[in-house]
């Protein structure tokens, strides 16, 4: 059963230079427990799509159905709680004046999750779940490393007990060793908690290792969508092939795959 259904969604921005069609007539579904990667270059509309899923932007046309219910411009607290975001840059995503625990707790207070007395315990549990020590809740974000901050960002989203998590380039600001650990953590959490991910990224190598299916965007249009295996072994669109062909690779097996795709018609 699909948890999220996007039906003919478009988003047009009116600008001084005329209308900009950021997302054009996109339809796709995300199944319960699945990780759908949304890939494309800058300006392809992937973040606009994410913002519509999150309810930050209203679609110009089409509808977004979540858990069988069409989402309107005015979402209920339960609907807002059910879809959470993990942002790209963990430093600017956290309020520098708030303790780490305070940031994680905010969602609990807003959505009234748990009793007031048990919320700190929930915050500590959320931090431990992402591999941070519980007493880190008293620290400020400035005292944390990039990887720790991103874990806080994940803890904050998960503390709200969402069904769907939108991950907007969650590891592109991190060093490779840290990225590998955070990606593993995200995989583990998804399996353990039965979460559904919409994973927005431009990094196809990451996509290959985390996503069940891939949606390729270009200039606001859905170019192609399919299982990760298929997208990487037999991409249908030249654009998808070009995207994979541009990935810088480190080993010979990857080079071989890339060359095979380049030679295909």
């Amino acid at each position: 059963m699909s948890l999220l259904r996007i039906n003919g969604v478009s988003k047009t921005f009116q600008t001084a230079g005329g209308p900009v069609h950021a997302v054009r007539d996109v339809s796709l579904e995300v199944a319960q427990g699945e990780c759908l990667a949304v890939v494309g270059e800058s300006g392809s509309g992937k973040t606009t799509l994410a913002n519509m899923i999150l309810g930050i932007l209203a679609p110009s046309a089409g509808e977004i159905v979540f858990g069988g219910t069409p989402l309107t411009d005015r979402r209920s607290p339960a609907q807002r709680r059910a879809i959470q975001l993990v942002q790209q840059n963990p430093l600017s995503a956290l309020n520098p004046k708030r303790s780490v625990g305070g940031s994680v707790r905010l969602g609990l207070d807003v959505y009234g999750i748990g009793t007031r007395a048990e919320r700190w315990a929930r915050v500590e549990a959320a931090l431990e779940e992402v591999g941070l020590p519980a007493d880190m809740r008293r620290r400020g974000p400035a005292a944390l490393s990039g990887g720790q901050r991103q874990r806080v960002g994940i803890a904050r989203a998960l503390a709200c007990e969402p069904d769907l998590v939108v991950l907007d380039e969650p590891t592109s600001a991190l060093d490779v060793l840290v990225q590998a650990r955070v990606l593993r953590l995200l995989n583990d959490l998804r399996r353990k908690k039965g979460l559904t991910y919409v994973f927005i990224t431009h990094d196809l190598a990451v996509v290959r290792n985390v996503a069940d299916r891939v949606a390729v965007f270009k200039s606001g249009r859905l170019e192609e969508i399919g299982p990760t295996e298929r997208i990487f072994s037999a991409p249908e669109q030249p654009y998808t092939r070009a995207l994979i062909g541009a990935v810088p690779v480190v080993d010979d097996a990857e080079l071989k795959l890339r060359n095979t795709l380049a030679e295909a018609p």
């Binding site: 270059e41 490779v176 060793l177 590998a180 650990r181 541009a246 097996a253």
Partner: protein
């Protein structure tokens, strides 16, 4: 063998509240004329400060303590008067930064910024001569309509276009050494791939040596002849790109390679964030020509 850059036992410490903090613990690095050398490491490993020392910028920072030998084209950078070091920048050595659009001045046209760069080498160069030379350079980086670009402001051009402009500007004075600090990281992968290929061909034609600073192993593999891997202010491995990528010898290099997600989808490895093995002695691959 004539080295364009010869760094020996370079240390750097910053003065803070709690005394000196050493960030480079004696690194040695050589670049031959025309050679493309990569310095790979994570954030905070000391890559960018090394570049700033080569440019002679950190020596002029009050809180920095720099020691060791830095020879550029046979001249001792460390002993040089700040004025002479400044004279090298933009002429004998030049730099390309991560984000092309923000490293260009938004208030001047590309043409005017080109002229400024050229005047560092030839202060009396006329406007028409500047424009002619700039046009030539823009054609070399495959910019289709150089005249239009010279009249444009950076914000009117795409990121990829600005990156080409930066490369053209960095090479216009025929520097002996180009320092490229994470070039193109801010760009889309396809644009990045294109501009790197372009830069690769161009420095080859011009015989420019390059110190290529990056955290991206894939990009390094495609660009560099030789690689230095830096971890926490120490060089842990050095060798020809092929040797390092096919037979990484140091635990840190191996961890770094393992951690890169593969498009072949072999899964995500378990990687340690820190390990004592990362502090093991440096691994040097043979044929140190």
């Amino acid at each position: 063998m004539s080295d364009i850059l010869d760094i020996r036992d370079l240390t750097l410490a910053f003065k803070g509240h709690r005394g000196l903090t050493e960030v480079l613990h004696g690194i040695s690095l050589r670049i031959a004329a025309g050679e493309r050398v990569a310095l790979v490491g994570e954030s905070g490993s000391g890559k960018s400060v090394t570049a700033r020392i080569i440019l002679g910028l950190l020596q002029e920072t009050g809180s920095a303590r720099v020691a060791g030998q830095v020879a550029f084209d046979g001249r001792d950078i460390m002993a040089m008067h700040p004025r002479d070091r400044a004279a090298l920048r933009g002429t004998e050595m030049s730099m390309i930064f991560q984000d092309p659009t923000s490293s260009l001045n938004p208030t001047f046209t590309i043409g005017r910024q080109f002229a400024e760069v050229m005047h560092r080498r030839a202060p009396r160069l006329s406007r028409t001569a500047c424009n002619a030379r700039a046009t030539e350079m823009l054609e070399e980086v495959s910019i289709p309509d150089p005249a239009r670009v010279l009249d444009a402001y950076p914000f009117q051009l795409s990121g990829g276009m600005n990156q080409r402009v930066m490369i053209a500007m960095a090479l216009v004075n025929h520097p002996k050494l180009l320092l490229a600090d994470e070039p193109g990281t801010a760009l889309d992968v396809s644009v990045q791939a294109q501009t790197l290929r372009l830069m690769h061909d161009l420095v080859e034609d011009h015989g420019t040596a390059v110190l290529f600073i990056s955290h991206n192993l894939g990009v390094v593999r495609e660009f560099a002849d030789r690689v230095y891997v830096i971890y926490r202010g120490r060089i842990v491995e050095e060798g020809a790109t092929d040797a390092v990528f096919h037979a990484p010898g140091h635990a840190y290099t191996r961890a770094l390679m393992d951690a890169v997600p593969r498009i072949t989808g072999v899964g995500l490895p378990e990687v340690p964030e820190v390990s004592d093995a990362f502090l093991a002695p440096m691994v040097r691959h043979g044929s140190a020509s």
